[in-house]
Amino acid sequence: MELSHIPVNIITGFLGSGKTTLLQCLLNSDEFADTAVLINEFGEVGLDHHLLEKIDENTLLLQSGCICCTIRGDLKDAIRDLYSRRERGEIPAFRRLVIETTGLADPAPILATITSEPVIRHHFRLGNVITTVDAVNVAMQLRRQPESVKQVAVADRIVLTKTDLAEPDVVVAAEDAVRRINPAVPLVESANAPVDPSLLLAHDIHDDSHKSAEVAHWLEVIPQDAPHERAHHHDVNRHDARIAAFALVFERPMDWTAFGIWLTMLLQSRGEDVLRVKGILNVTGVATPVVIHGVQHIVHPPVHMKAWPDGDRRSRVIFIVRDITKTEIEQSLSAFNDLALAMSSASDAA
């Protein structure tokens, strides 16, 4: 993946969870003045007092330098149109794109558009997905709304909003509900202090200066993964009860080819149920760790790290899945890997 690719951040979150407030905060940030924002309606964001120039019906230039556009019709067309106007010099050469989803949106198709559409993936790359979560209502939403479960599962950052309106035990319950689905995600409370736009938008796995810290965040969860393992099939109507988040640690090195074969086969048969896969692999024949990162059924190109984040050299992978157990994943991946390692050692011996 080229460094010149423009990062795309997705801001998602259930209806009334504070996406617009967060967006306003980001639009006011000088640090992200060279950002283009795709939103659904200008009216919702209340841009009047930030407006510098109305470029056309769908495009506003803000005082901060941000470009703000509404999505008319297809997201794919909106992104391609924005890029071609950037290239023609009709709008400033933005260096980041932020897309706000509607509250009821399943973010997966949006992520797929950015990573799979041939023209878009040539110029853009997926950055952090930021999900706003309303502390007062999240526990109920996660039980009832499958979209909200997906929004939390795919998040790289969670912004917990309205904590000032909730009793402390409600806030704790909200954090717990989020962590059960996405245990490793950095969680920021927005009510008490201004959010740090860089932490939300820029610090990601493709950013060399934050790559190690990001992976270390993922791995922090591993010693405590047991409480996040959920019993299955308790109540099929509770969407959050069907989700399991767990970490697997592999003692033997991982054969890259076997891992690729296994994961593509898993995504073909159970892609809808694999919400998240991320971790570091000790790949046979490679001295440094390989970072793997998949959101829903999209697997990003692997990222190489220069060094191990800690003294542990084992492969460690976090899964967020629906209706699949830790044992099923562990036994399946181990069987594929063991076969590959046996084949390799047999051919080395020959």
Partner: protein
């Protein structure tokens, strides 16, 4: 289902491209054996998937092998299927 085509293109620098491709076909065939299917490299560009009755299909990459294989056998290929895993463990013992 999708994955970035670069994701599992074998560009990990572990082994030369041709060698990795050869190895990948060999490993996929260990799995496909369970389903009486076979994969062959086709001019280093694509792959040919075939069954025992001679039915063939050209696929571009690893991601495309599985949907084509599912179509050919008429059912889902589940990597967590206990029968497949038992077969793989048996193959492992044989090496």
């Amino acid at each position: 289902m999708s994955a970035s085509p670069e994701a599992f293109g074998g560009r990990q620098g572990v082994m030369p491209r041709r060698q990795e491709r050869f190895y990948r076909v060999k490993l996929v065939n260990e799995i496909l054996k369970s389903f009486a299917l076979r994969l062959d490299d086709w001019q280093g560009q694509s792959f040919i998937l075939s069954n025992r009755t001679g039915k063939t299909e050209i696929v571009d990459d690893l991601m495309a092998v599985w949907p084509a294989a599912e179509k050919m056998i008429g059912r889902q290929l589940d990597p967590m299927d206990p029968a497949l895993l038992a077969h793989l463990r048996q193959q492992t013992m044989g090496h």
